[in-house]
Symmetry: C2
Subunit: 347 residues, 2 copies
Amino acid sequence: MPARVTTLKELAAQLGLSITTVSRALAGHEQIALKTRQRVTEAARQAGYVPNTAARTLVSGRSGFVGMVLPIRGPNLVDSFLGEFVTGLGEGLVSHGSDLILAAAAQGQSELSVLRHVVESGRADGVVVTRIAEVDERLSYLRQRNFPFVAHGRLLDGDFAYHWLDTDGAYAFGEAFDMLYDLGHRHFGLVTISEPMTFRHLRQDGLAAAIARRGDPSVRLDVATAPRFDRGARIQAINRLLHVAERPTAIVALFDELALTVMEEAARAGLAVPRDLSVIGFDNIAASAYAPPGLTTFDASIRQCAREIGEMLLTVIGDRPAAPLTRLVRPTLVSRASHGPAPTGQN
Amino acid sequence: MPARVTTLKELAAQLGLSITTVSRALAGHEQIALKTRQRVTEAARQAGYVPNTAARTLVSGRSGFVGMVLPIRGPNLVDSFLGEFVTGLGEGLVSHGSDLILAAAAQGQSELSVLRHVVESGRADGVVVTRIAEVDERLSYLRQRNFPFVAHGRLLDGDFAYHWLDTDGAYAFGEAFDMLYDLGHRHFGLVTISEPMTFRHLRQDGLAAAIARRGDPSVRLDVATAPRFDRGARIQAINRLLHVAERPTAIVALFDELALTVMEEAARAGLAVPRDLSVIGFDNIAASAYAPPGLTTFDASIRQCAREIGEMLLTVIGDRPAAPLTRLVRPTLVSRASHGPAPTGQN
DNA sequence: GGCATGTTTTAAAACGTTTGCAATTTAGCC
DNA sequence: GGCTAAATTGCAAACGTTTTAAAACATGCC
């Protein structure tokens, strides 16, 4: 069995002091004589004393943990920036000495029930919720419990206030449109998903708004919708966009995975990117840099965002701010080689 | 503040029973009358009772958590399969109701000190250690503490027994050699790293062993070593391999990131892959499928391995097996288009 | 030396759970 | 009905910490 860990009682006995005094001395309370504090601190250092988390949590009601439910998708599919996200979150939490709890859902178990368990077992002082759905029962639950959380993403209707950080997808898609419009494109395609996630609306609305702002009636937008995780259906939807008499000259994809598929299908159809077709994605996943000719996309700096989310959550846990903390982060354009001037002539 | 959570005391009061009885009933002890057990279970369900983790940990000495120190690298660099790894780990743990704790190291804090803290604060019942270094103080520490852990990777010298799971890099690199040899290659390059990680030796030794097995004195191997995270130095090292009078016809890279750089540099040097140069990597990161012409590599099925590591660790925590649990996983070849017959003629 | 005042230390309760042991209730039997 | 044995339930301690309230000690002053 593991070597015994030093406890406050042992330390106190060794020093000939009471547990109370040792506890206070380590906490740096002024009321303990300076000499005693130093003596205790030194002894604790030497004994390698580390306070027991469970005991501390029990009495203080604070665990020092932040929870998150692991997004488990298909058997072979993993959220492409989960690694970046947890890294950033960890970085954001460590400054205040908090750690991250990752809870997975068992087969057939709902993400909500895992969340409930994390919250109600007192494992965490707050949670992070990602990938916000149009109707998101996790948020309703957390609100009803009045439990501290920060969402990565937003609900569409502002029917209740909460703390969130989101990437400004609307802005990015507007930018994409403006850039492509200025390059002469008038016929656009949008590849989106059928899953009820809020970000698809935010991005699509951003695109629509940019089109409206321009006020050019000759602009046309075709939308293809595919289920998110069905590669076959995705390819079909994309080809429905590509193989029509009047094909868009520029396709904006909801995120990079879709954009990469668009480029693959374009290549298969004998279309050269960007000569015949411009493609723009969103997320800047690692593969986008390598997929020829290099996907133009938007970087959402997930790691940095996750770090901020961690810091926000610690503020929420500590201060319980009345007004919602919100933060909209502008993604930055990563201009590679998949976009260019609209083709002229016979198209 | 958060809505109050139901406690055992409340439940007991509500049922007119003692805390002891309620606790036992929920634990399913036979000594409690069946009727009582059912009554208690139903009441608990209705009240949404979830036992407090801290209290349970305190008395039982088991936290139900497994710890891991977040590998934080450069400011922009994240372990490329961290997401897969934690997902797999979560899947492996959830079957026994354990969760994962991810602890980050603060700026300038050593990974070892974070590990110590995780262990000594009683946060976790066991830990996972990844990326084993040639001299790894984390393993020495854990052994000395006799704390349950499973390593992803191996030490080179078997000076002490411990539980590990490793990908059989030696096997993969032997396979790569055999395949390339059979395609006519005789002059090989190996791109490796200068960081003292054990896996570089295991893989390189696997390659050397395969060469020795073949017993062909005409086989030649050039080795280029680069620091892992310095892109400039990496490129230089690779070019030292490419720009010599007698250039290797096949390059094996320690892992995909290096292989992708090799392909980029080859392209820049006007070499066609695989016509002029065959390249083989290891890891099968996402970008490898997209980088033209498609990198031939080995898939280590990280997620599955991590799941097994999670299961192993739970066994270790529960049973404290005397004999070390070890598992060597064969990576599978992912044959894409970056390797081919050795060029003939003027080379 | 006694008293007020300020400084330093400690006893004890509390957090929510599990568990060894004892107490109570019930059932079985003569 | 009383006794024993079995079944069922409860008391109280323990886990390691923080914190309230109070005790002990030192100091300064008359």
